[in-house]
Assembly symmetry: C2
Homo-oligomer: 346 residues x 2
DNA sequence: TTGTAAGCGTTATCAG
DNA sequence: CTGATAACGCTTACAA
């Protein structure tokens, strides 16, 4: 088999405990000895056995990362941030993809993280009371991204103010018929993001003394396709908006297409604002609210590790990261009606 | 602390080994006993200690997944596939994001997977000889996605024939000035994907008796921005292509934008074909070569697990998944010159 | 079919 | 500063 602590100890003429201390950088080891031991360990190609170390110490040096969909842009970005911090601090990253509701239920029933992680990071999963309980039962610190109202440490953005900024941008351009592509029942309850972005929309309307008109709201589901359908619905409505705020860039992308398919032009006929600053937003020239996604991953990992170092007190710590308006070509001052376009292609 | 095997054994009035066997479904356990033990274990809330199990058995029940960039579309998809298979079979997924060359070097020097995984999956990392050696030294089965010429099990697509199909589509539409947005030096050597897609381009040209013209090739780096720059270069060139094949959808997206910015229209003035069928390809109405990405993840995980079950013989097994042409709105028959567009917007 | 006992390779406590 | 020694909680011959 491979070389063990004991092999190194024998080779160095010291006891295993000294080697253990030396290699882990614990205090109380003669510096010369430490160097020598390190050298011998290296020359012997010694690698610690994580399993043994974990069993003996009770620390797993592993963080579980629970995500709804690894394959969506937002989560990929966050994971990138999380991974870099974890790796730098020598922690392993155990990935759990939840997927649909069935997968989610299975996850919370089986709780596969039990006894294998020192901490958990949950991404954008609106947690029910019982899910919070299940996580709490793990008896390890938990930190979440983008989920409010849990007892856990949390990093997020201010969705309300982001949405206000987005819609205010439209009102300042003179728009008064402002559609909303929101995300309703398709998304599980307790996910505050859509609620807050919608509240921001309402607040900004109110600010500009514009009455809310339910016929200007269409519900999507945070996907391109649903955004397209929602926009199509708005275009068929009695009152056609001159501007639209989509609660996510992906829905905005769909909206852009629906608008184009209807033979209308952006921003001449309709202005569109998204939210997120998705990788593709720049390409599609979409005005949007930028949020720091990778950084949210870094921050949440940092918070969790700090919590761990501090002994893992429950801590409902909250860190709110800034957003900012990115004006691109999809928004323009409100045009005075008329002048319909002739041709519009990709 | 938490309840252990021994607690369960005591409670059931049997020995720890019987409990172990019963819970793991090993043969040679009285079925009544097994049921009873399972019940007691459940009622006691017993959860196995992975650390102890791993230490004792030497099996980690964990697969390391090494990826260049978790946050890119392709990798997110593959990971999704890998995760589902691993999870279903009860394996843990340890994620390693490599990132740039510095990260890559660090990874192969430190080899953080040593002693903690039963197998490794490597995604689209062109492996140098010494990197192959490092992985081999791990003494666990390795399987790769999209990397040819390694001793490892491999799942991939036929990039050559995919590219031939793409370019043939253009020649059949009557195009003869066909640009290539390839990916050259920015990508590390030994990554066969770009080479093979380029070969497919050359083959299809040859088939149609079209001479290769270096001035019609522009080099990008698999990103949107690089694709845009490459296309801009082609448009400035002496011989303007009437069609372009981009080696990836992301570069094609950039190309679409460059074309639009130049005041030209797709497909009227220039046809564009991509490769991958990226999530956004549909939105952008891009004709492309579809490849089964999630399925490559599922397949590679399956292969690795099978290998593991079979005892982990080296196996240079190869599985090639099919691609297919998806014709959308970005390609059209070659127009007879003239007729330049006036206005073109988002 | 079941039990006994020897590891697995560390960490941690306690003396020295 | 260093060394015994007892856990840690399971797996796995081997015996019964």
């Amino acid at each position: 088999m491979s070389t063990s602590l004991e092999d190194v100890a024998r080779s160095a003429g010291v006891s295993p405990s000294t080697v253990s201390r030396a290699l882990r950088g614990l205090p109380g080891v003669n510096e010369d000895n430490r160097r020598r031991i390190a050298e011998i360990a290296a020359s012997l190609g010694y690698v610690i056995s994580p399993a043994a170390s974990r069993l003996a110490s009770g620390r797993m040096h592993t963080i579980g990362v629970v995500v709804p969909y690894v394959n969506r842009w937002f989560f990929g970005q966050v994971i990138l941030g999380v991974e870099s911090v974890l790796r730098a601090r020598g922690f392993d990253l155990l990935l759990y993809n939840i997927g649909d509701n069935a997968g989610r239920e299975r996850f919370f029933v089986e709780m596969p993280l039990r006894r294998r992680v020192d901490g958990v990071i949950v991404l954008s999963l609106p947690l029910s009371k019982s899910e919070v309980d299940r996580l709490t039962e793990l008896n390890v610190p938990v930190a979440v991204v983008g989920v409010a109202a849990t007892p856990f440490a949390c990093v997020r953005i201010d969705d309300v103010s982001g949405a206000i900024t987005a819609v205010r941008h439209l009102t300042q351009l003179g728009h008064r018929d402002i559609g909303l592509i929101s995300s309703g029942t398709e998304i599980p309850m307790n996910f505050t993001t859509p609620v807050e972005r919608r509240n921001g929309y309402l607040t900004a309307l109110n600010e500009a003394h514009i009455d809310y008109d339910a016929s200007l709201e269409a519900i999507g589901g945070f996907t391109i396709a649903s955004g397209e359908r929602a926009m199509a619905r708005l275009l068929r409505g009695v009152r056609r908006p001159t501007a639209v705020f989509a609660e996510s860039d992906e829905m905005a992308f769909g909206a852009l297409r629906a608008i184009r398919r209807a033979g209308l032009r952006v921003p001449v006929d309709i202005s569109v604002v998204g939210f997120d600053n998705h990788d593709m937003a720049d390409l599609l020239d979409l005005t949007t609210i930028e949020q720091p996604v990778v950084q949210q991953g870094e921050t949440v990992a940092q918070m969790l590790l700090d919590l761990l170092a501090a002994g893992g007190e429950p801590s409902g710590q909250l860190e709110v990261l800034p957003t900012r308006l990115l004006v691109r070509g999809s928004t323009a001052p409100r045009a005075h009606a008329d002048a319909l376009p002739a041709h519009y292609s990709t």
